[in-house]
């Protein structure tokens, strides 16, 4: 089934808590991402962007509106459907969250264990190739503790991309990195996504990496600000 848009959100709303303590964090969100597009989501903390990301990533149950991710409607979707959808999304977190007892190669290959019918040799060779693509071809046997912060985050990028995801969701992937490695990771992510044609939706505060975006969306108080800057460096 050809999908025109990997992400399409209409009238999405979300609130935490019950009764008098109920606090609305997202209201009336409309957002879509085009195939291959790199979209950055910015805004002050508490603006609801992380909540939005967890909803899109099928990590939370929807409350209101419609959210179609890779053809799957998330409103009312059962847990099993959400788990299945998560396998088709590449996640990159603020922390690398690699398994400390596995090598870099095993960490990346782990993401492929979710795909049925792959042989171990295929998983490992694809992991090695992916590590090569993030510039860590020789660090496959290293454990996360033996890698620098930037290298770990690049392993995390490799883990997110190795399974050929239809969409990459990233939450401040450069926040824990210094200027140089943060910029490297961001550009690496952009280049790999472009070469695979994968769209990226990234939450970030980091002004140093805004240049990788096709489009930047600003959020405030649970709404998307109307002044979206549709034009960004290198888009197209």
């Amino acid at each position: 089934m050809p999908l025109d848009r990997p992400l399409e959100i209409r009238g999405l709303g979300y609130a935490y808590g019950e009764g008098a303590l109920r606090k609305t964090v997202l209201r009336d969100i409309d957002l879509s991402v085009e195939p291959g597009e790199i979209v950055l989501l910015t805004g002050p903390s508490g603006s609801g962007k992380t909540t939005l990301l967890t909803l899109i990533g099928a990590l939370r149950a929807m409350q209101e509106g419609s959210c179609r991710v890779l053809g799957q409607e998330l409103m009312g979707a059962p847990e099993a459907a959400r788990v299945a959808l998560r396998r088709r999304i590449g996640f990159i977190f603020q922390q690398h969250n690699l398994l400390g007892f596995l090598t870099a190669q095993q960490n990346v290959a782990m993401a492929l264990e979710l795909q049925p019918g792959l042989r171990e040799a295929e998983r490992l060779s694809r992991a090695t190739a992916m590590l090569g693509a993030v510039g860590l071809g020789d660090r496959g046997p290293s454990r996360p503790s033996e890698l620098s912060g930037g290298q770990r985050q690049r392993v995390a990028v490799a883990r997110a991309l190795v399974g050929d995801p239809g969409l990459v969701l990233a939450d401040e992937p450069t926040a824990a990195l210094d200027r140089q490695s943060g910029g490297e990771v961001a550009r690496l992510l952009r280049d790999l996504a472009r070469s695979q044609g994968v769209p990226i939706l990234m939450v970030t505060h980091d002004p140093r990496i805004l240049d990788i975006a096709d489009r930047i969306i600003a959020m405030e108080d649970g709404r998307i600000l109307p002044t979206t800057r549709a034009e960004a460096a290198g888009g197209g």
């Binding site: 990301l53 400390g100 795909q115 090569g132 510039g135 050929d164 044609g197």
Partner: protein
């Protein structure tokens, strides 16, 4: 930029591959992969792994020792009856345990002989007396077993060559497996030939050795003829017996003979097949004494302690890796996969703790068995049973620890 130069071709190659076509891998992957992950996780922290193995090993050895003692004590308690090798026994219905028998009339022996199936019937006399250690002079309680040694119903190892010697007045055969406190009869026999000892208030001559083994009721045994028994146990009346051992003609159906004897004999005797009497005796020790409970309780404690240790290890493993587990959930690993990881870890610990536990217990059986004269024996049935217990123990610990997985919430990852 040169770093990612190869990426486009790779990507193109990958995209063309059908994503979900089943090939290779194998149907065991849903079990094999979580188990491998569990093993890698356990292996990464050697100190924690070793303490977990030590916990399982401890539980394993404790259970093996408790079960070993239990069955050794029950085995030894029924040793005397078991080694009599009679087909059928007659006892008084009120007899609870063989070392405290109620007596029955001697005439039941000849009544039993009237049945064509019965080849031989021997009255057996049991009594406790004292034995003066020929080396140290100390007195100690000993079990006397008197019967007609000639008939050949009773077949203790070593008895056959002594039958003639035991016919002489004031002779006894000594159980070589009696506790060492009775003195080293084997050495004395080898050095001096038959030697005299004081049994009760009589002087008896030890003419040879037989093999029975000590039991709850008796630390040692003496076997002698009916006549010599009455010389020691002077107060015993000739016309009452404690036990009757019956040998059937070859080819006779034992249960039929039991039924016919029951019908024939008056209700002051109870007819039991050989193994039934052993079971009857065993039941007394299991049910009428706290022994069975003590060892069951000890085994249970071992399992509980082992379970707590394994649970602690698994729980803290999950707690310290909560973020990683949440990440795995976020990227699409289901709860089932993670549960299998925890359960696999538990079962790996069961195997890793059981194997050294089995070896250590076998070694301890040998050492302790020699020290206590109890028949401690490792057999496949017990090893299998304990393995199942340890396996279940770890499994329950794993199931309990698994609840911690619920704390790994993938929505908290962003």
């Amino acid at each position: 930029m040169n770093v990612i130069g190869a990426a486009p071709e790779q990507a193109a190659g990958r995209v063309s591959a059908p994503p979900a076509a089943p090939r290779g891998g194998g149907g065991l992957d849903p079990l094999r992969l979580p188990m491998r992950l569990a093993w890698r996780q356990l292996r990464a922290d050697r100190a924690r792994l070793l303490s977990a193995i030590a916990g399982v090993l401890f539980a394993c050895v404790l259970v093996f020792m408790q079960l070993g003692f239990r069955s050794a004590l029950f085995d030894s308690a029924t040793k005397l009856l078991g080694s009599m090798q009679a087909d059928i026994f007659l006892i008084h219905p009120m007899t609870l345990v063989s070392f405290k028998p109620e007596t029955m009339p001697r005439s039941r022996v000849s009544q039993a002989l009237a049945l064509p199936e019965v080849q031989a019937a021997v009255p057996i006399y049991l009594a406790q007396s004292t034995w003066r250690n020929p080396e140290t002079g100390r007195r100690r309680a000993i079990q006397l077993v008197g019967f007609d040694t000639e008939v050949g119903v009773m077949d203790f190892p070593g008895l056959a060559p002594l039958v003639e010697a035991l016919k002489r007045p004031d002779t006894v055969a000594f159980d070589r497996r009696s506790r060492p406190e009775f003195g080293d009869a084997a050495k004395l026999l080898a050095a001096r030939g038959p030697f005299d000892v004081q049994v009760g208030s009589s002087r008896m001559q030890v003419v040879g050795l037989i093999e029975i083994g000590p039991s709850f009721g008796a630390d040692g045994n003496l076997v002698m003829s009916e006549l010599n028994f009455r010389r020691i146990a002077k107060e015993r009346r000739r016309e009452t017996v404690d036990l009757v051992a019956i040998k059937l003609r070859p080819g006779t159906d034992r249960s039929v003979a039991v039924a016919r004897l029951t019908a024939l004999l008056p209700p002051d005797v109870r007819v039991l097949a050989g193994p039934e009497l052993v079971a009857h005796e065993r039941r007394y020790w299991e049910e009428a004494t706290p022994i069975g409970f003590i060892f069951a309780f000890g085994s249970l404690m071992g399992l509980v302690v082992g379970m707590v240790i394994v649970y602690q290890i698994l729980f803290s493993d999950i707690a310290t890796h909560l973020k990683e587990y949440a990440t795995l959930k976020a990227i699409g690993f289901g709860n089932g996969y993670l549960r299998r990881v925890v359960l696999s870890a538990a079962l790996i610990l069961a195997v890793l703790g059981f194997v050294p536990g089995l070896l250590l217990s076998t070694f301890l059986y040998d050492v302790v068995g020699k020290g206590t004269f109890l028949p401690l024996m490792m057999d496949a049935g017990r090893a299998g049973g304990v393995f199942l217990l340890i396996f279940s123990m770890c499994g329950v610990a794993g199931l309990l620890a698994m609840r911690k997985l619920a704390d790994a919430n993938p929505a908290d990852m962003f």
